[in-house]
């Protein structure tokens, strides 16, 4: 091979220079990659450290927690988890939370889909004002609505039911869903609609059979956001419930008693509230990359 290459001094020098340049560039790229990995690892450690500490404490007995700082459980115990899973007042909290979150997701997505379609495809009287009004609900601080909500749901007899919380969370979740879905729907060309009508599809059939599959990842991301904001909200959920529909986050406040805080149980309950989030994020992980920009890139 090397016989066929020119061997004049100039050509050799040039070849060496090119090889040298390539090697240096490769080395530089590698060092940049390592720096990126290092920074990324540092951030992940920052994210995980507080969570690890919670996990660590959930496996320790209360005497060990208060006895001194240990970096991992010295005598590993599941007593706090056993306590939560055997006491119905504890585990019903998770059931209650999941119930109203799922109800809210179902209600929100069903009414938001047609509304977002209308906003993305049609012009009608008051559309822009209506859209802004919707977004203002996203901005309404729950603290403002606490008292009126309590009175409203008490009057209509929904106080301390899952429906009450699900409906209350619609205040910010429906506008959010409409906003996100509108972005995704607008990125589907209108010719698709027209072709379907020419082919003789009725509106409902077109919407369900053709349109919804096209914005699948948008719906996935919307559901993710709906879950997220309903699952993490506490103020309204706590105000609108007392015993039958009490969310887990509000039951957790029981761990602080007159004799001090039951740290182990608090930590175990906290760990269990993180798990549903991990499951949800695992399912939508492939849509996040594209869908998180909410169709607005």
């Amino acid at each position: 091979m090397s016989d066929s290459l020119p061997t004049t001094p100039q050509a050799v020098r040039q070849r060496v220079a090119v090889q040298d340049y390539r090697r240096r560039r490769k080395a530089r790229a590698a060092s940049i990659t390592w720096r990126r990995r290092g920074l990324m690892t540092a951030y992940i450690v920052f994210v995980l450290l507080p969570i690890y500490w919670l996990l660590n404490m959930s496996f320790q007995s209360n005497t060990e927690i208060l006895g001194g700082l240990t970096l991992w459980p010295q005598d590993f115990t599941l007593e706090h988890y056993t306590k939560i899973f055997t006491d119905s007042t504890w585990y019903m909290g998770y059931v209650n939370s999941m119930t109203y979150v799922l109800m809210n997701m179902a209600i929100s997505i069903v009414v938001a889909l047609p509304a977002a379609y209308a906003f993305s495809r049609f012009q009608f009287i008051g559309d822009k004002h209506l859209f802004f009004w919707l977004l203002t609900n996203l901005m309404a601080p729950p603290a403002v609505f606490l008292l009126p909500y309590f009175q409203l749901y008490y009057t209509v007899g929904l106080f301390d039911t899952h429906v009450a919380v699900a409906l209350a969370h619609c205040l910010f979740n429906i506008p959010l869903a409409v906003w996100i879905l509108e972005g995704f729907m607008s990125s589907v060309p209108k010719e698709v609609d027209e072709m379907a009508y020419i082919d003789g599809y009725s509106f409902p059939k077109f919407f369900v059979k053709i349109f919804l599959p096209m914005i699948r990842s948008g719906i996935g991301v919307t559901l993710f956001f709906l879950f997220m904001f309903s699952w993490v909200e506490l103020l309204l959920a706590r105000t609108l419930t007392s015993t039958n529909a009490q969310p887990i986050a509000s039951i957790m406040t029981r761990t602080s008693t007159a004799s001090g805080i039951d740290w182990g149980t608090l930590a175990a309950a906290g760990v269990l509230t993180i798990l549903p989030g991990i499951v949800v994020v695992y399912f939508v992980r492939n849509h996040i990359a594209k869908g998180f920009a909410l169709g607005r890139t």
Binding site: R36, L39, M40, Y43, I44, V47, L49, P50, W53, L54, L69, V111, P114, A115, Y117, A118, F122, F124, D127, F132, T136, N137, M139, A140, P141, P142, A143, F145, L146, L147, P148, Q151, L152, A168, C170, L171, P175, V178, S186, F227, M228, W231, V232, E233, L234, L235, A249, W263, G270, T273, I274, G277, V281, R285, I288, A289, K290, F292, A293, T297
Partner: protein, 294 residues
């Protein structure tokens, strides 16, 4: 997209409208109703006009809470936005690492807000928390129940931990939408890393960043559960933000009139800022000079 003019579209909106109106308009009218009256009991009430609004606007405690709120919101935006962009730039783009990093980064967003407070309460305690203990071992007298500066720094750190992922994920998905051809063109031009960021990546990120900043501003302005659990608003009232002042007044002291007036002022401030953002977004979308970038 040119839209068809059709008022029948209202039928598609109607179910959504009824539900949101039930949750929004009725309670808001209740608040308005309270804000102009002095309610003693269900049968005795007086019309007070704008008196509550004047009282609230002149209350020094609330003015201080408002200033703290703005300081807090601006601080976390100034930290979270650059940090979020930075993380989005270094996140791996393919392979199993990409999925793993995505899941780990998203994690803090899905933790209930008061649990976030509990996590940080445990983490920063001097006796049982890794961070509190660690800082003390290093010789710093860290104490969030005594020192307002420590409490502030901890709440800001907690918010950065909690919400930077949102900005990072928005930017990450914005970056993924940039066609490879743009980068190839930049390589041919021998563009520096900074030039690639400034003239290719940043313009593409503007839209998602506006969304991110809007969401972050709104949520930081309504922050309640995390500082409530972590510091309870203390020491003193150094970390009492607007939501907490309002809740104390409305639920704790049952001052219906003043707290309703306060609610409306609070809501109007958020509305005003958000309107500015909204107009900016809409303006960008219409502006022909930015069309080429999108």
């Amino acid at each position: 997209m040119n839209k068809v003019r059709n008022n029948h579209a209202w039928w598609l909106i109607l179910p959504m409208l009824l539900l949101v109106a039930f949750s929004a308009i009725i309670p808001l009218m209740t608040v308005v109703n309270y804000s102009v009256q002095d309610v003693f009991d269900p049968y005795t009430r007086f019309f007070t006009g704008t008196e509550w609004f004047q009282v609230m606007l002149n209350d020094p405690a609330l003015q201080a809470a408002l200033l703290r709120q703005f300081a807090f919101s601006l601080t976390i935006l100034a930290i979270e936005v650059p940090l979020g962009i930075g993380i989005a730039l270094i996140m791996p783009k393919q392979g199993w690492q990409a999925s793993a990093v995505l899941i780990l980064v998203t994690l803090p967003l899905l933790i209930p807000w008061n649990v976030v407070g509990s996590i940080w309460q445990i983490f920063t305690r001097g006796d049982i928390g890794l961070m509190g203990w660690g800082l003390r071992e290093l010789g710093y007298g860290y104490n969030i129940t005594r020192s307002p500066a420590d409490a502030w720094a901890t709440i800001v750190l907690m918010d950065v931990w909690h919400w930077t992922p949102l900005i990072a994920l928005l930017c990450y998905s914005g970056l993924r939408a940039i066609p490879e051809a743009y980068y190839q063109a930049a390589r041919i031009d021998r563009a520096s890393k900074w030039a690639v960021f400034r003239f290719i990546q940043l313009p593409k990120l503007t839209n998602v960043l506006v969304i991110g900043i809007l969401l972050r501003f709104m949520h930081s302005f309504m922050i309640y559960a995390e500082p409530f659990v972590l510091t309870g608003g203390g020491p003193g009232s150094s970390t009492t933000f607007l939501s907490q002042s309002l809740t104390t007044m409305a639920i704790g002291q049952q001052d219906l009139g003043p707290s309703a007036a306060f609610s409306l002022i609070y809501f109007l401030i958020i509305l005003l800022v958000s309107w500015v953002f909204y107009t900016a977004i809409m303006h960008r979308q219409k502006d022909p000079t930015t069309q080429g970038e999108r």
